[in-house]
């Protein structure tokens, strides 16, 4: 890595101040995405703003018909949280399948969602549950948050503070892992609840997206069979040495079917 300055603020306000003052500074949460990028010299921030000392970013709690998870919640905390397991078991299960034990004990919800890796798990849950992203300055609906490959609606210097997940009646998740990286090759998060029926597909495209045809079919008939014959077009999907666009398109159907089965 290259040299950088290091700051450890203790409030969101201080962090935002540091980040606004220096456009080349980056927040760091669990570091499990940013540190490898630094080590490979793929990123060259002037400063790292370590979020780990900010209490406001922590915590997982149920607030009425929502579960609110702080940006700094680690994957393992989400996976083991009684609040999450009770209200949205599919989200806890999803968190429990991210990476390996080490990754789950370092990586954070905020870091994953802010990073919006097309092969990440959480974005599917955020979009598939119709969650709301809360930042230091505004609230952003999931549908408006994920704007493209590794890009989000967050402005430079804007901090993701928490995510509010509405509690669904049913939700399920299924994924096919990339055999090498074990990230998501294609996954589907499905839910039925206050946000209607949602099907969010991750891994397959450059950015997590909703599969509207499947949503309509599931709204009419909530069963794996309802999506079994819906074909995803391969146009615009990702293609790499592990899975072509055609294969990923095929997996969209398989994973959606399995996600519905997982939801019950």
């Amino acid at each position: 890595m290259y040299e950088f300055a290091y700051h450890k603020p203790s409030s969101v306000a201080d962090a935002v101040k540091l980040l606004s003052a220096d456009p080349e500074a980056r927040p760091i949460a669990g570091g499990h995405t940013l540190l490898p990028a630094l080590k490979h010299r793929l990123a060259r921030p002037t400063a790292l703003v370590d979020l780990s000392g900010i209490a406001e970013l922590r915590g997982i709690r149920r607030e009425g018909d929502k579960v609110v998870i702080g940006a700094l919640a680690r994957h393992a905390e989400v996976a083991n949280s009684d609040a999450v397991k009770g209200a949205i078991p599919a989200l806890a299960r999803l968190a429990g399948t991210i990476g390996d034990v080490q990754v789950r004990n370092r990586g954070t919800l905020g870091g994953s969602v802010a990073n919006n890796d097309p092969a990440a798990d959480y974005p599917a849950a955020v979009l598939g549950l119709g969650a709301t992203v809360v930042t230091d300055r505004r609230r952003i609906a999931a549908d408006d948050f994920f704007t493209g490959m590794f890009s989000t609606a967050l402005e430079p210097g804007e901090l993701l503070v928490a995510i509010e997940f509405p509690i669904p009646e049913k939700a399920g998740y299924a994924k096919m892992k990339n055999p090498a990286s074990r990230y998501v090759m294609t996954g589907a998060f499905v839910s039925r609840g206050p946000q209607g029926v949602r099907v969010a597909i991750n891994g397959a495209g450059p950015c997590v997206f909703r599969q509207r045809e499947m949503e309509a079919a599931l709204a009419a008939n909530w069963s794996p069979d309802a999506v079994a014959n819906i074909r995803q077009s391969p146009d615009g999907l990702n293609s790499d040495i592990h899975g072509s666009a055609e294969y990923r398109a095929h997996l969209v159907t398989v994973m959606a079917k399995r996600a519905v089965a997982d939801a019950g």
Partner: protein
């Protein structure tokens, strides 16, 4: 056997002595070592697969903080540094020698693969060296690249080397073509298969590292390096590259974290740090990061083959005809030329009585990382071809695949058995290993398991491979006649200390194999010394007299045999000392259980008493015997050894995703006498893991521009624990007839036997789709495509 401590001798599953050190973090690997005043090297590597170097501007880099020096290929060539030598010369069909283009330590006029070293920066810290390397400006004229073998051989292809027209390294053959063609002419059936043996990236757990040091006071050089054979490195680097006499160069390979072949070779970085240390009079350390390992460690396999098997009416094999393209990569790595020839084509008889075999091999230069031996080295390629072809032949003749194998097995009464491709097998019992494996795997009960899996929506298949391999390499005169530029004996010294403890100095090198335990067991068994009192020293040219190192499953068969010979000399000398002390004649002295005894009496001396007498020779036959008790033996094997066996794999495929899981694996191997069953089991399991990796997971992929797409663990699929089934390991022993221990070798059998067993199981699982072959790795998408392409036809039928 002379076992004093029955639980430590031959056949005991003694826990590995070295593991306390390794498991408690006390291993001393090259990167753990730091020398006073040490500086750090960072190597600038080519980002292009093929480019001419028009110029290199190192000015800015040299002025960066902490930089001690920047060297280019020109600097090293001007200082007289030679190129990296190749240790094996193969000849063309017409008898002319192979093309052997120069392999500069740092690129001179051209770069020929992504990762080719271009310049080195030495600085006070590694980060400073790396920063400065980024400031080196290389003026590249990018050239079109020949990325795969078909491209490289095509007319008008980009030429890598002036001395290798058409990018051909050699066009070699073995066997009598006319006899084979005649066999095909009378064949009842010919089974034909085109297949690829996928290119693999070794990925030892410990990345390569090297520290060079120069002692201004003595003029001596020391190199610490991650090597499987430090004496070979000393020889090659000293004699060919840096021109340092052996007496001034010490090479130490301390604890080494895995090699699998990739740490056999003499690499540029070893010469660079040693030379730079001399220039700068500072120790210089280089450690690869994982990304560098992907583009600088020699890769493995990479064959494209067409094979045909001729059979008569009864399914007896009449002949085998094979044509292979073998990728050498951009340069010849140390032993590259012999892998797809003498370690491959000579194994094509397998365990069968095939009377006529012809194989031709074209070795091809491409703009990729050099390819050399990787666990199994040539033998997995031969075995995959043969065992796949047997299944295809079974399918096409309608003869059961087990029955077809049995009909063609070399019978246990036929040894020694001379194959038509040079090798003479000394022992084996192929029916026995097959029977034992089928029983252990419950082959007979498989159809019930297939039906049960079907009810769960899974396609289940079972596959078998009956393999043989040649290891314990090798008789020096034989390999010399085949082009080796080295002998392949091994050296062992047994040093009995005055109080009877023992130090073993061996030329073999342990980088995961457990030699410190197995070799100590040999001493415990033969000399009756508890293994706690046996020290095994290896990996240091300053301590061990000589050695050829560890590869080709040779450590026990060749290195262990050298130790036995040395121990025989110790016993012979001990008898003479005992005869003197016991006032008996030498002929009457017997040695057993650590004691020298006058036959038929209770007069005896322990080994410790004898060694004390030898080192404190007050009462000693000093006129006729030298004091001391230390013997060295060089052992040159009489033949290769031939481990063989049967592997059975059972797989389940998810037809919706194409994902294949190996659910059962059974290995029954004949590795000769087993010294430590636990270590053998571990070696077989590790080999099977790599074999399953090759079959299902690992693919080295270059894009059409010559960039390595599978250049990190994010894209190169290493097998992980949850990819692997429980592996049932058993042995069935026939003794090697020509070495004193009767041992054959177990290090590579897993990687050799497993891939065809797994792919045969995959093909079996997919049999309703009309599949006759599936290329490795059988990735989910590959399987899904097969299922997808064949489903409509199935539905229409």
């Amino acid at each position: 056997m002379n076992v004093v401590t029955p639980f430590e001798g031959i056949g005991a599953s003694v826990r590995r002595k070295e593991d306390l050190r390794f498991l408690s973090g006390r291993g001393q690997y090259t990167d753990d070592l730091n020398r006073p005043g040490q500086a750090y090297a960072w190597i600038l590597r080519s980002p292009h697969p093929h480019a001419r170097i028009r110029g290199i501007d190192t000015g800015a880099a040299a002025a960066m903080p902490g930089v001690l020096a920047v060297f280019t290929g020109k600097d090293m060539a001007e200082a007289g540094v030679g190129g990296l030598p190749c240790g094996w010369q193969v000849h063309n069909k017409d008898g002319s020698p192979m093309a052997e283009p120069p392999h500069p330590v740092l690129a001179l006029d051209k770069v020929r693969h992504v990762g080719d070293p271009v310049a080195v920066v030495v600085a006070e810290t590694r980060a400073q060296a790396r920063d400065a390397a980024e400031a080196i400006a290389v003026d590249y004229e990018v050239l079109p690249a020949a990325v795969n073998m078909a491209q490289a051989l095509a007319p008008g292809a980009p030429q890598l080397h002036e001395g290798a027209p058409g990018n051909l390294c050699y066009d070699w053959h073995i066997g009598d073509k006319a006899v084979v063609d005649a066999a095909f002419a009378r064949a009842h059936k010919v089974a034909r298969l085109e297949l690829v043996n996928n290119r693999l990236i070794p990925n030892a757990m410990e990345p390569r590292a090297a520290i060079g040091e120069y002692d201004r006071g003595t003029g001596d050089y020391t190199l610490w390096t991650t090597s499987q054979n430090p004496h070979v490195i000393r020889l090659l680097m000293g004699a060919y590259v840096l021109h340092i006499p052996e007496s001034r160069l010490r090479v130490i390979a301390p604890d080494v974290g895995g090699g699998f072949g990739s740490k056999i070779y003499h690499y540029a970085e070893e010469a660079i740090v040693t030379w730079a240390a001399g220039r700068l009079e500072r120790p210089v350390k280089w450690t690869a990061d994982r990304s560098e390992s992907f583009v600088s460690d020699a890769h493995g396999r990479d064959h494209v083959t067409t094979a045909e098997l001729a059979l008569d009416q009864d399914g007896k094999i009449l002949g085998l005809r094979v044509s292979t393209l073998a990728n050498m990569g951009a340069y010849l790595s140390t032993f590259a030329p012999c892998i797809p020839t003498y370690l491959y084509a000579t194994l094509l008889a397998g365990v069968y009585t095939t009377p006529a075999i012809y194989c031709e091999v074209k070795a091809v230069f491409t703009n990729t990382v050099p390819v050399d031996a990787y666990r199994g080295a040539g033998r997995p390629e031969a075995t995959f071809l043969l065992e796949r072809l047997m299944d295809v032949a079974a399918m096409e003749t309608g003869i059961d695949r087990i029955e077809l194998r049995r009909r063609n097995f070399i019978g246990s009464e036929q040894f020694p058995y001379q194959t038509p491709v040079a090798l003479q097998y000394d022992s084996g019992n192929y029916h026995a290993t097959l029977d034992q494996a089928l029983k252990a795997a419950d082959w007979a009960g498989f159809e019930a398991r297939r039906a049960e899996a079907r009810r769960r929506g899974k396609l289940r298949g079972i596959g078998v491979s009956t393999y043989i391999e040649a290891c314990g390499i090798a008789p020096s005169a034989v390999v010399g006649s085949l082009g080796a530029r080295a002998g392949l004996y091994e050296v062992g010294t047994i040093r009995v200390h005055p109080t009877g403890s023992v130090t073993v100095l061996t030329g073999a090198h342990s980088h995961g194999q457990g030699h410190e335990t197995t070799f100590a067991q040999l001493v415990a068994d033969k000399l009756g010394v508890p293994i706690a009192q046996v020290e095994v020293v290896h990996g240091d040219t300053g301590k061990v007299p000589f050695g050829m190192g560890t590869y080709g499953s040779r450590s026990l068969a060749v290195g262990g045999s050298a130790m036995v010979k040395a121990m025989d000399k110790i016993i012979a000398k001990g008898k003479r000392i005992a005869a003197h002390l016991l006032e008996a004649s030498v002929e009457d002295i017997e040695f057993e259980r650590g004691e020298f005894r006058v036959a038929g009496t209770d007069k005896k001396k322990t080994l410790a008493e004898i060694s004390l007498a030898a080192y404190v020779p007050h009462n000693y036959p000093i006129e006729e015997l030298e004091p001391g008790l230390e013997e060295t033996a060089f052992y040159d094997p009489k033949n290769f050894t031939f481990p063989a066996g049967c592997h059975v794999a059972e797989v389940e495929i998810d037809p919706e995703t194409g994902r294949t899981q190996v659910v059962n694996f059974t290995a029954v191997d004949d590795v000769g006498r087993v010294i430590n069953p636990m270590i053998v089991e571990g070696q077989v399991q590790g080999g099977v893991a790599q074999g399953i990796g090759q079959a299902l997971l690992e693919a080295c992929v270059y894009d059409e521009n010559g960039q390595l797409l599978s250049g990190s663990m994010m894209d190169y699929t290493m097998p992980r624990a949850d990819d692997l089934p429980p592996v049932g390991v058993a042995t069935h022993t026939t003794l090697c007839t020509h070495n004193p221990l009767g041992v054959k070798g177990c290090g590579e059998v897993g990687a050799i036997g497993a891939p065809p067993a797994v792919i045969n199981a995959v093909v079996d699982a997919l049999k309703e789709y009309g599949v006759r072959h599936v290329e490795m790795p059988a990735t989910p998408e590959r399987i899904w495509r097969i299922i997808n392409a064949n489903r409509p036809r199935m539905a229409a039928e």
